[in-house]
Symmetry: C3
Subunit: 427 residues, 3 copies
Amino acid sequence: MINALEDYFDRLWPITRSLTGNGNRESLKILSEIIDLEINEIPSGTTCYDWNIPPEWNIQDAWIKNSKGDKIIDFSKNNLHVLGYSTPFKGTLSFKELKEHLYTLPKQPDLIPYLCSYYKERWGFCLSHNQLLSLDVNEIYEVFIDSSLDSMGSMTVGEAILKGTSKKEILISTYICHPSLANNELSGPLVTAFLYQKLKHLKKRKYTYRFVFIPETIGAIYMLSKYGEYWKEYMQAGFVVTCIGDPGKFTYKKSRRGNSLADRAALTILDQTEKNYNLVEFFPNGSDERQYCSPGFNLPMGSLMRTMYAKYPEYHTSADNKDFISFNAMEGSVNKYLEIIELIERNEKYINTKPYGEPQLGKRGLYPTFTQTGNDDYVRAMMWILNLADGENDLITISERSKYPIKVLLPIIDKLIENGILKKYKR
Amino acid sequence: MINALEDYFDRLWPITRSLTGNGNRESLKILSEIIDLEINEIPSGTTCYDWNIPPEWNIQDAWIKNSKGDKIIDFSKNNLHVLGYSTPFKGTLSFKELKEHLYTLPKQPDLIPYLCSYYKERWGFCLSHNQLLSLDVNEIYEVFIDSSLDSMGSMTVGEAILKGTSKKEILISTYICHPSLANNELSGPLVTAFLYQKLKHLKKRKYTYRFVFIPETIGAIYMLSKYGEYWKEYMQAGFVVTCIGDPGKFTYKKSRRGNSLADRAALTILDQTEKNYNLVEFFPNGSDERQYCSPGFNLPMGSLMRTMYAKYPEYHTSADNKDFISFNAMEGSVNKYLEIIELIERNEKYINTKPYGEPQLGKRGLYPTFTQTGNDDYVRAMMWILNLADGENDLITISERSKYPIKVLLPIIDKLIENGILKKYKR
Amino acid sequence: MINALEDYFDRLWPITRSLTGNGNRESLKILSEIIDLEINEIPSGTTCYDWNIPPEWNIQDAWIKNSKGDKIIDFSKNNLHVLGYSTPFKGTLSFKELKEHLYTLPKQPDLIPYLCSYYKERWGFCLSHNQLLSLDVNEIYEVFIDSSLDSMGSMTVGEAILKGTSKKEILISTYICHPSLANNELSGPLVTAFLYQKLKHLKKRKYTYRFVFIPETIGAIYMLSKYGEYWKEYMQAGFVVTCIGDPGKFTYKKSRRGNSLADRAALTILDQTEKNYNLVEFFPNGSDERQYCSPGFNLPMGSLMRTMYAKYPEYHTSADNKDFISFNAMEGSVNKYLEIIELIERNEKYINTKPYGEPQLGKRGLYPTFTQTGNDDYVRAMMWILNLADGENDLITISERSKYPIKVLLPIIDKLIENGILKKYKR
């Protein structure tokens, strides 16, 4: 998987993505090779609750030349150079005039910032602070931005479904609105697409899985306008997949509910499989969990990340590039999401069919025939399962209370079901 | 306010107050200059639940003379010298006979204790232990107590009301039964009276405020017999104002419920405005919260104090005098009560009127137009308010969960209401 | 009591007890001198839920002789030498053949292990590992086990009842299936029998006490088949009495519920009377609480032990003998159980009959007549009782919240009841 992740990364990296535009279309087309996406165009101006789909933005070229005609800033070299959603512009400006449109990071003077102005019309360029300092203040600059904002355009979104035996849904949401940035945010779409591959090949799926590839914020609000009421009834758990490609330890941000199935499953797996991880309580800033966990929906959506947005210095700069991420880590992220989902699939409540005293395990070959040797972990874990199988405790609770990890409990549960002593609880 | 506090303190200080009597009448009359008190006389013998209003006690003079005719103890010099509710007495006694009626503090040999015998008839004098040791054991002493216990008298109580738009009440209760003692207890009536002044001038009041000036215990039981059933329905919060004039840090004693609105508001303000304070769980000893929080009523009444009764060595001695208190601190106490009440007034549950995804703040000028700069505290706090405005979380909970102080949240709430994105929740 | 405990211990010690058999009958007969046991025989083959009563096992003699005719292992010297429930055997074997039937503890090479094979037919001998190493591998051994497994036999159980004014029951359960072992398990039957003596002489009993003397596991499952449904309705608390004779500190293992009356009472007493003790959360291994707390019953049964089974190296070996236990400790165990039961007997909810403000304690002689001296512990504890006597808080809660120990509260409660200010709450 590591090589495939890198190949797709390399193909997607140079494309200029934004809220809307051809870069997004192209990106979703490439991702469709991995995940069976239905791609939809939502017309600019469409109302979604308090919002409208913005005009479609496209950009062909942009540069700044000095009086010698040298391109000192060139969009074709790094698409971060142009302020996202810049209006078209062509003109000749003094340094003083130009400076009003230049954005830098004085505290990280080597890096180009990533900035956008989605909902206010502006044009601008982003560059390193050192480059800004090197500019000749007496020069006259020629500026060109060949962009367009089309109110008859559309926003492009992708969706895929993997049906399960139940209509109940697990949502995997990721976003595609960042240009050439690696951890935030090519890692999210890549991990999501490869997770789809894994889930597609599961022998059976209890839940239905929905994957959405959207621009951040407006895309999530659009999806809520489409599915929000349905999800209130059918969503069992969901995750926003973002910042998931760097080699840092995992971070889990809880849903607004704080104890949703998404939270319980993710934290159980992290507890039982990772030496260290960060646990972050819900806060209403961040990524699309802001929308999914808005008070009108309050969906059970958390977010498993590696190093969280705004918590690493490379965030939203030109340093969030291929050097910063690890395809090995990204594969680990796919697998960690898979482990969490497998737990969600298996998280049942059980009924002990012989609940009056212990079942006689010995006659079923499930118990050592010597008294003294009955205390090994296998038997202890079996006893815990049988004792807590009262239709009240789910697998996660059994694991918490018994302190036996899920991977120890599951084969014993299968064994007990096979022997007719245990069955799934159906309300 | 500091000068006014001191002026009133100086006028009230010399008056002999007790459960009943002219000293209480005179004190309430002086306090009426600050707070619009309705003063009532409750006849001795009136039954209140398990209690009866005691006979009215008055005292004109009292002294002990040695055989030379020198007044060695003189009520007119310090009203603590006479045991509260002493019966009248006139007689000549040996030292041995007299000693049975003398009370001292051997561990604080310079101080005169403050003692009473309300419900058992006694006479006695309080003096410093050093003075007791200096008395001539071979002397014959002349003793005179010009007091009276009148079963046709009455108990004097004061009440004031500041009406709000709602019948729901906040009770401020203080007591007036201590003679010349400063922190416990001239500070309580003074702080209460000046708090009335502040509340009177609030632009609007949601709640109705009731102020009661009563003798401790019997006064509170009387008030409960009058309003207890009403308060069970209408009291939102209440405070016993006592020991509130010394320069020590604040102490908050919780109501019996432990999480009443009084408790939550007081602790929120103390957390957010004081570096240190003492938190005391409810205990059924202490002041009139004993009565208000008796199991038949269990009212939401706590007590904001400075150094709590019985926790300072000057307590109930002649050293609890003007030197011990601070008018600066007392002004701070008035203002702290005011802050708590202002929080109670503003403690609403809110509804986000655009709860499906985030409202688009940008188009209302409430959100930075650059992506990168959206993370300042103003925006974060706004996000928290909107996210928690689901009709379940009140302002105190929003402050707790967001960790933004009330004073940061309130102007943002006002702004959001003004923009129509937020409204008060009405059940 | 100490001498009596030792006398009975000495008489019971040499008897070979097991799940069934004459040793159990003989042991119950001896115990009947202390506790008025009804002894019942349950036929082998009787079905109890998922189990059947096993065939009755009896053993007269067993030995291994070397070729010289010397008994190198002799059941008559230590009944641990024979694997419990060994089938009869007679034969001549090489060392290699014999070795398959020999059980030792290589890590405790001087000790004989205690082992059984109840539900699989086997024969075997237990011996010290050192003795095994000393055996001549070239010898031919003569082996004799004079045992019998009788499917027409029965399982012997003992029960006693001490009636209370209520049908509500407290269950004391102990087990009698261990041969010559001291802490686990002669201590349990001995402590239970002497506890019966103590409870028999209580002036009055609110609850009915049931004592059961059974073989472990199958005995408890049998008792559940007889009384389980009744206990679900009537059992208030219960305890499994085991490992209660060594001089170690107390261990309390909670019931599955975790906050049952058994748990609350035991932990309150241990907190208030023991400097140190071990608290063990419920786990579904262990002794008969496994059965009583199975999910079909979930009875309020915990277990007060001293050093818990499997937590001392002598456990289930020949070193769990008279040297390991202390009759002094055993007497302490009887008394500790008694204290816990006395608390259960007295654990009422109370009603303050004067709940509106405080009752006037002074006129009843319950309150100091001087104001200053009212703060002693007696008065404080009285105030707590009156304040919490609202029909919601039981004695244990009053003790927890007031921090006054049960032994301080009880005489005050009696005094208040006598004065008519307090009464027991009846639903």
